[in-house]
Symmetry: C2
């Protein structure tokens, strides 16, 4: 019998009627696929984790992290018990398994632990006894028996890790969207549901802001070769399959257009040594968990360059403050900031074998009088920094050029 893992996020189990809906969804899948065993992985009911953390903060100023994990892990404990009950009521034998029962071993970084190993013996034994294992996501246990939680995106990572341990056929991530779209449907109504995409592309789309899956879980899936399916709990549909590149039948040149509307560009003027001397600035920013993105250098004159880099706008004031404090030590003339910029990217593994994507991209932007201020490329992505007011125009123009029309590009190389 093959095994599939089905992961249900907080919105999918947000209240009792939704938990019962999930139970019916599992029953229907079992009826349609009698030869496939199901393992469920469940998040806390939407809002529950935040409620528990607020409870801790109402008690003490700085909650101890070990105890915060004991507290917040009750969120998933409640939802697995309720889903198991709902499955049993539908006549499907089910058993909840907490992180320690499912033997999900993590390191001891409380509130942000990483899975180190899964001993699948209990999960397999539960399946063999005819039960549907309903596993608490987001939690694990340390070697010394302490409860841990996995931090952001944790339940997705639990699901992928369980799927990898069980060598599952696929890991279904049920969420409140129908899958991964070629761009943000709110900006571009022509956005299409992507049916298949590679892990690499998904990683670029996820880190660029498509909020469907946490990058760590995609990375995990890629590393262990787990096919992921992103689909809606509420609206039946095929969803988007995220698979090995070798399993993609055809590789469109561009799979998706993503953007981050609220970026800021920080510039250090007349910096001696150019980009090479920036490490102290980056170190200072990294200590505050501010990570720089696109970097460029311009106007080198007498060994002095203007160096710009982008950061998320919400941390840009802090970043400017840190940079300005370092200006005297760096020997720069000063630091300035431009808050009204956005980043727009085209992503596709087809770029590896096709030339002319950048030219086509600039052409599409030029038609709309959008002038890129900075450019950054990887082998499957090209990003441009543009004034914020053109962000949506640029997304639509690029979507039209690359997704809606078959682009004519250079030969496969």
């Amino acid at each position: 019998m093959s095994i599939v893992v089905k992961k249900f996020g907080g919105t999918s189990v947000g209240d009792i009627s939704r938990i019962k809906n999930v139970a019916r969804l599992i029953r229907d899948f079992r009826e349609q696929n009698p030869d496939t065993q199901v393992v469920a992985v469940v998040s806390a009911m939407a809002g529950e984790t935040n409620r528990l953390i607020a409870l801790a903060r109402s008690c003490v100023v700085n909650p101890d992290e070990r105890e915060l994990d004991v507290l917040s892990s009750t969120g998933e404990q409640v939802s697995v018990a309720l889903l198991a009950m709902a499955l049993i009521e539908l006549g499907l034998p089910a058993k909840s398994l907490l992180g320690q029962q499912a033997r999900i071993s993590t390191d001891s970084r409380h509130t942000n632990a990483q899975i180190q190993a899964i001993d699948d013996s209990t999960i397999r034994a539960t399946l063999q006894q005819g039960f549907i294992p309903v596993i608490a996501g987001f939690q694990g246990i340390t070697e010394s028996g302490d409860v841990t939680t996995l931090g952001r995106g944790g339940s997705d990572i639990s699901a992928v890790a369980v799927a990898a341990a069980l060598k599952a056929q696929a890991c279904y991530i049920y969420t409140d969207v129908e899958g991964v779209f070629s761009t943000d449907p709110r900006v571009c109504p022509q956005a299409r549901l992507i049916d298949r995409i590679s892990h690499d592309e998904m990683l670029e789309l996820a880190s660029l802001g498509a909020k469907v899956l946490h990058p760590r879980s995609v990375f995990f899936a890629m590393r262990y070769g787990v096919p992921l399916v992103v689909l809606s709990t509420f609206k039946p549909g095929p969803g988007t399959w995220i698979v090995r590149e070798s399993e993609l039948v055809e590789n469109p040149v561009v799979t998706g257009i993503t953007y981050r509307a609220d970026e800021a560009r920080l510039t250090l003027h007349k910096l001696p040594g150019g980009i090479q001397s920036l490490s102290r600035v980056f170190d200072a920013l990294a200590k505050e968990e501010i990570f720089i993105d696109v970097i460029s250098q311009s106007g080198i004159e007498d060994q002095l360059a203007n160096v710009s880099f982008t950061v998320p706008d919400e941390v840009s004031s802090k970043a400017l403050e840190l940079a300005q404090a370092l200006v005297p030590q760096l020997g720069a003339e000063g630091a300035s900031i431009d808050r009204n910029i956005s980043k727009v990217s085209v992503v596709g593994i087809g770029m590896r074998s096709h030339t002319g994507v950048a030219a086509k991209m600039f052409e599409a932007l030029a038609r709309e009088q959008v002038d890129p201020q900075m450019i950054s490329t990887s082998d499957i992505k090209i990003s441009v920094i543009i004034p914020r007011k053109y962000c949506e125009i640029a997304v639509r123009a690029l979507h039209e050029s690359f997704i809606e029309m078959k682009p004519e590009l250079g030969q496969e190389s």
Copy 2:
């Protein structure tokens, strides 16, 4: 270093400010007793267990009991984490321990499990590392790793069991009353706080309706020789010590007066075979969890007796129905019920060595024109069944005779 166990019930940890109050109480005890180690055992915040059970019932009609335990055990998990955080904030290193972490092994009767063993190694290791162990009451784990809960009075039993395993100096049960009183202060304002009482007496007082401690926990304490202290979380005071009989310096003849106001008396008229033929009635009642209390037989004539027994009034209609259904099979003439009776008892281990307690009791009742309808005795208790309207009068009269005045009775035998 000696060890004490301190157990805090749901009211004591009923909200965040009360949890912080408990943390301060533990800190103050530690400061005053630097050579005594503290182990805390904690219930769920008041109302939380009921909220969780209601959540389960809003999901399914008959919640699976294994899953109900997974769900309801989160109540204690939340309170131990919060109390540990509050202790840490006060500068006291603390670690929460769930049932499985504290290695509280139970049988697998979900929702009503019994503790089978406690492996104290984790608790001792936690103490040795300088942490205050904050143990989740009410929960344990089966041999196969399933979460269980102990049923009613469970957290008290957890605390006593932990104290027994650690050979603790005492087990403090913090509650919302100052201790065990010689009778119900609402009925008799002269009620006195008992300073020391034997386990046996406490068992009689508890089973007779003093709602301070669950009988199972007293029984456990007696069996393992754990001194119990019942005291208030909110009002400082010595509380009541429940100790081995041999540790009582003087044994008052009567320690306490208890009552159950709402009893009912069921009578089977002209029953062939008398009390001996009642087993079928008692079996039928026991199946419905109705337990009979005082039994008496009167008016034997031609081998036919009138047999009466008492049951709690809230189940008396059900009991009458069951008895009436059996009347034809038993060959009795009929069954009737008297709903307006109460049971009043005097309890004291001094009765073992003093004579004349019953006579003194009837004398006190007679002075108030109260005529006992049924009587039941054990070696440390005498109970009378009286009309309900005299219940409070009888309690006050007996309290005056036995507790407020030194009774003059026969010599020690």
